[in-house]
């Protein structure tokens, strides 16, 4: 049984302050009204922001930065200088410890999904080392953040794993549940934490029921259970709606870049002007971008915008779920909808292609 404690808010705040003194603590903070980013904080006040909506970029940036050096090389590596030594130097092994505070359920779900992809067969130590150095203090959502999110429909509202600690707001105190061994240990260190009494248990149960109720209509954002998506998409390859969505789409890649479960990247070499030092780096990439699937000779396996857009949705809701035990690679966080200038909304796309072109449901 995982531990559950009750921590008065001021005690929790001093706990966060002490964490921030020892290392980096980051949480969603408003850069402008309604525009949140994960940034360094020194206390727990970010948890009290009632206008919160998912951050511009997901917390993934702490495990897989937008741009990162894979390794450096020295020595004249250039092909014009033959016969010289090349040294490779891996990036720093041990990463700085970091605490992610106030991670919402959708992002907790996403972190678990990217963990799974980076652990698959070949371990990506760049991601996983940073991931190991991170502590996730998650926070339940009692109400829907905005009209774009559809987490409950994608099954990512209820967080069962992927956090070290999970907070639920009891008003003057936090209910803090441990999700991992690391979380258990941390929980023991919080001064002023007490065991949950019957009243607190009851309140927690009420909140859970209330949450269920509050999110009831969010489930309706999809016309069918999310688990049906792989099958539905399997039959919708030639749906004429793809063309229509493709005509609207600008192929700008914003949806990919802000998505917490997109993890594709491009790899580039850079060298200094003396041609003696260089680095290989990777950068976030997006499957909606024109050259994503282009190969030598210029052949492009997804030449048109509609093909690329379709690929993105298939990857989220068919290809990766088929690969990973049915796990949906869309959490319903709504980031791509908020960023898309032509309002392409996955839930709406899925509902549209689930209908037979004639109109009746498939």
């Amino acid at each position: 049984m995982k531990s559950l404690k009750i921590v008065p808010k001021d005690a929790f705040d001093s706990f966060v302050r002490s964490l921030a003194e020892d290392g980096e603590v980051v949480a969603p903070v408003a850069r402008e009204p309604g525009q949140y980013v994960y940034d360094s904080v020194s206390d727990a006040s970010a948890l009290e922001d009632e206008d919160y909506i998912p951050t511009l970029n997901p917390p993934k940036k702490y495990f897989m930065p937008a741009e990162e050096v894979l390794f450096k090389f020295t020595g004249k590596g250039a092909p014009t200088h033959s016969g010289v030594e090349v040294e490779t130097e891996a990036q720093a092994e041990a990463e700085e410890e970091i605490v992610l505070l106030g991670v919402r359920p959708c992002d907790v779900a996403a972190i678990r999904l990217t963990d799974q992809a980076f652990e698959d067969t070949y371990e990506d130590e760049h991601y996983l080392n940073r991931r190991d150095a991170a502590t996730i203090i998650a926070m339940n959502c009692q109400e829907l953040c905005d009209e774009h999110a559809f987490c409950a429909a994608m099954g990512s509202l209820k967080v069962e794993a992927g956090y070290d600690l999970l907070l639920t707001d009891l008003g003057d105190a936090w209910a803090v549940a441990a999700g991992t061994e690391k979380g258990e240990q941390l929980l023991q260190q919080i001064p002023g934490a007490r065991d949950a009494d019957a009243a607190a248990q009851k309140k927690l149960q009420d909140l859970t029921d209330q949450q269920e109720e509050n999110f009831e209509n969010v489930k309706d954002r999809l016309d069918f259970p999310a688990e049906d998506l792989p099958e539905i998409l399997g039959e919708a390859e030639d749906h004429p709606a793809w063309q229509e969505f493709g005509d609207e789409c600008m192929g700008c890649g914003r949806c990919n870049l802000v998505c917490p479960t997109c993890f594709c990247f491009d790899v580039l070499d850079e060298v200094d002007l003396g041609l003696e030092e260089g680095e290989r780096k990777r950068q976030w990439d997006g499957c909606t971008l024109l050259e994503f699937a282009m190969v030598a000779g210029g052949e492009n396996f997804r030449e048109d915008r509609d093909e690329r857009l379709r690929h993105r949705f298939y990857r989220k809701a068919k290809y990766l779920p088929e690969r990973y035990d049915g796990d949906m690679y869309c959490t319903g966080c709504g980031r791509c909808i908020r960023t898309c200038l032509v309002d392409i909304d996955p839930a709406e796309v899925f509902n549209t292609v689930a209908e037979k072109p004639g109109g009746e449901a498939s």
Binding site: Q35, N57, D247, C249, C252, L268
Partner: protein, 252 residues
């Protein structure tokens, strides 16, 4: 042997050459890696043969054409430097008037005999161009990257994705989500500038030219939703992009 490099200039503000002079940290490395034989803005000329020619500026006069052709003949590699050369740049905004109108309206009767003027165009409308360094002005790291690529014998990296990509990588608040009335061209404009304009509170005005497969219809719709009319939207798209073939797509 170090490649002999010439830097040439046609109609422009010379800001791209200046960007090269402004690479203070790298300048000595550049001078060490290449043999700079012509760079009028910074030095007296020493030689007339070169392997690589960087050409700044657009073609606006009949008399510039043979000069450019001569450069092309001599250079093994010709690189267009900056928006004037790559896409026509702001110079091409004058193309909305006919050459006759320009002369008459701007110079009056007195001036017309001194100047020949033709519709402004990027240099690839006149000669073959091997590589492009985009931007008004060029980005300094992009120039360095191009030089190292040429030294390594690889194709310089030219992104074919829009500014939005770099803007999201930097986690900017999108111009369209800010409370000013700016209109951003980021979704159809080629990246490579690290989204510098949106990052400094402004909007992308399109200096690096259009990406391939730009969806003008959708962006114009977006711009109209954000409060400008269609004509104004097209005008914005054309600010830097009148002098190249793709400009016609905006009209269509």
């Amino acid at each position: 042997m170090k490649p002999r490099v010439g830097i040439f200039s046609f109609s422009s503000c010379e800001g791209c050459q200046l960007q090269i002079l402004n690479m203070e940290n790298e300048l000595l490395d550049i001078v060490g890696a290449i043999d700079l034989v012509t760079f009028r803005e910074a030095m007296d000329p020493v030689a007339r043969d070169y392997d690589v020619a960087f050409v700044e500026g657009s073609i606006t006069r009949e008399s510039e054409i043979p000069m450019l052709e001569e450069i092309r003949r001599k250079a093994d590699v010709l690189v267009a430097l900056g928006a004037c050369a790559t896409i026509g740049g702001v110079n091409a905004m004058k193309n909305k008037f006919s050459p006759e109108e320009n002369l008459q309206e701007v110079y009056g009767d007195a001036g017309s005999e001194y100047y020949d003027t033709i519709p402004t165009r990027g240099i690839d409308e006149v000669v073959d161009v091997d590589y492009y360094i985009h931007g008004c002005p060029i980005d300094r790291t992009d120039f360095a990257q191009t030089v190292t690529s040429l030294l390594l014998g690889k194709r310089p990296y030219t992104p074919n994705f829009p500014v939005c990509v770099e803007c999201r990588l930097k986690e900017n608040v999108c111009v369209y989500d800010r409370d000013d009335d700016e209109i951003c061209l980021g979704p159809v404009i080629r990246a490579g500038c690290s989204a510098v304009c949106p990052s400094f509170g402004s909007a992308c005005i399109g200096c690096r030219g259009y990406v391939d497969q730009a969806n003008f219809d959708s962006l114009i719709k977006v711009m109209v939703e954000h409060g400008i009319d269609e004509e104004e939207a097209k005008k914005k798209l054309r600010m830097f992009n009148t002098g190249n073939a793709k400009a016609q797509e905006v009209e269509a």
